[in-house]
Amino acid sequence: MKKILKRICFIGSFAFIFPSHTFAEDVKVGLITKTETNPFFVKMKEGAQDAAKKMGVTLLSAAGKADGDNAGQVTAMENMIAAGAKTILITPSEAKAIVPSIEKARKAGVLVIALDSPTDPESAVDALFATNNYTAGLLIGEYAAKKMKGQKAVIATLDLFPGHPVGAQRHNGFMKGFGLTSLPQSSNHLASAAEVVCMADSYGDQAKGQTAMENCLQKNPNINLVYTINEPAAAGAFRALKNAGKEKNVMIVSVDGGCDGVKNVKAGVIAATSQQYPLKMAYMGVEAGVAYAKTGKKVSGYTDTGVTLITDSPVDGVKSSNTKTGMDLCWGKK
């Protein structure tokens, strides 16, 4: 199914390339996001455009058609290099599949920086500017554990889809933070434990998240803690819980910190979420590209762009900010 889907996406993918600014400067930086439409990447592009404008360089931007569209990203990368980009910023849709193309680009002297999502292996790129997704999961895990103290946890996890490193890192971080048996950060598998009575895939989608939560409640109606991969999935889970009359007794924790998500924290739909900063990632990426063009020095290694726990009901021992701060820093429309 997935394979057919990918084929279709491939045939249908038109990764458009267009220069955002045609400045006289010769420095070109390419930005390739997973999709054009996800608010997270829209914000990322804004950050890159801001930085490019300030530093007087040209930003080329493109995206895959859908999450998982590797071929579209490969095409975009080739076209950007042909257009003269010496730095490529990319949020890899497929952690492994993109690696050969990145290697080719780097051999040709292009600086490649991964934003938000790591490649597999991580060393395939020059540098990675990202939120540590494992830490993001860890924070909400620790928060939930403190909050549930003395209560027996019956957990459901609404994950991304099979085989995605971000999905595994957030999930395993949550497990570790909660004090359950978990897997290390490098693992691409989802850890399981007796307390987790249901693990289902939400594809980060609200409707699919709702269906997954409904099915989990059928499996075990006593679920009292729900981990979700992102805030749309959390909204779907809440809808399912509300329909079952259980929304009051179940805690939902999530990751992302988008404006809609923070609003939902404020409204009590989500208890806590780990906020990420896509704008910062892109800004730093363009900076690095300009530095490379001017000095020939490449950045390297992993830079954590930070993650903050957002909640209006803080617990001792886990650092957090309230939703007001969260709203000021959130991405997407307010």
């Binding site: 199914m1 997935k2 057919i4 889907l5 279709i8 045939i11 249908g12 038109f14 054009e36 439409t37 996800n38 608010p39 829209v42 058609k65 859908a66 889809f161 099979p162 085989g163 249901c198 693990m199 289902a200 895939d201 594809y203 989608d205 609200q206 409707a207 709702q210 269906t211 997954a212 409904e214 099915n215 989990c216 059928q218 499996k219 749309p232 909204a235 779907g236 809808r239 329909n243 809609d260 997407g332 429309k333």
Partner: protein
Amino acid sequence: MINTIKNQLASHSILGPFGALVFAILFFSTQSPIFLTPHNLSLILQQVMVLGVLAIGQTLIILTAGIDLSCGMIMVIGSIVMAKLVAVSGWPVWMAVSCGIVISSFIAMGNGLLVTKIKLPPFIVTLGMSNIAFAMNQLYSEAQTVTNLPSNLTFLGERINFFDGYINYGVFLFLFLFLLMGFALKYTAPGRHIYAIGNNIEAVRLAGINTTRLLVGVYTVAGFFYGVAGWLAISRSGVGDPQAGQTENLDSITAVVLGGVSLFGGRGSLFGTFIGILIIGCMRNGLILMGVPSVMQILITGVLVILAVTIDSSRRQS
């Protein structure tokens, strides 16, 4: 013995899918005590109603030997139009819903016109339309989820008690539309002509039937169902989500094929599609109840699809 089974399968296209559904139900009920409860079964119906109504449109098109890859995206356009007109522009619900359904029908009619007037292959036309519709709904919605929908727009998602479970109004609409179209396909002249087009369009044309008008009509009616599916989608989720519907095109084709409808056109029934939808719903629900990793569901669906197409192909040859 084997020949008898083959002959039976050949003459009754519904037997295979029906057997698969019965097998799935029996299997899951031995694996989980919850599976066969009215509450769980009513839940499965709620979970398949959106895909089910989409699959009605998809069935009509596949019966004419066409295919529609744009159904999910057209559905989302319909749903975003309805949600925005009500939540942002303050239109009355009935006007917004009608407008959404009409727009969906118009876009789908565009598919029909391109297929008939310019004689383009449905696969490519609808693939292109899927891209166009996707872009349109992102632009129109500014890639933002439309929230704060009033309850009279989403009343189809409201539930009434049904045995010890509950069922929502949308499920009744979904079942009603299946019955209605099933009847129309079987007992009305245009319904029979749809089958005939799938078998031999030239013969139908020579028999004096305006095949262009009929085909455009089929695509338009399919668009109507996509619009209704969009309404069901916002009723179920309570929001207008521009990111929704991305896998629904292939999911609906999967359901139609699982239900024994021939991808070559002209064979199969809406009842078959209904069975196909239930197979998908039961598997999604049953495998989670069993605690099986979701990747297994993808695997099993793939095997079933190939099996269904194999049976159909051998039936054509015999």
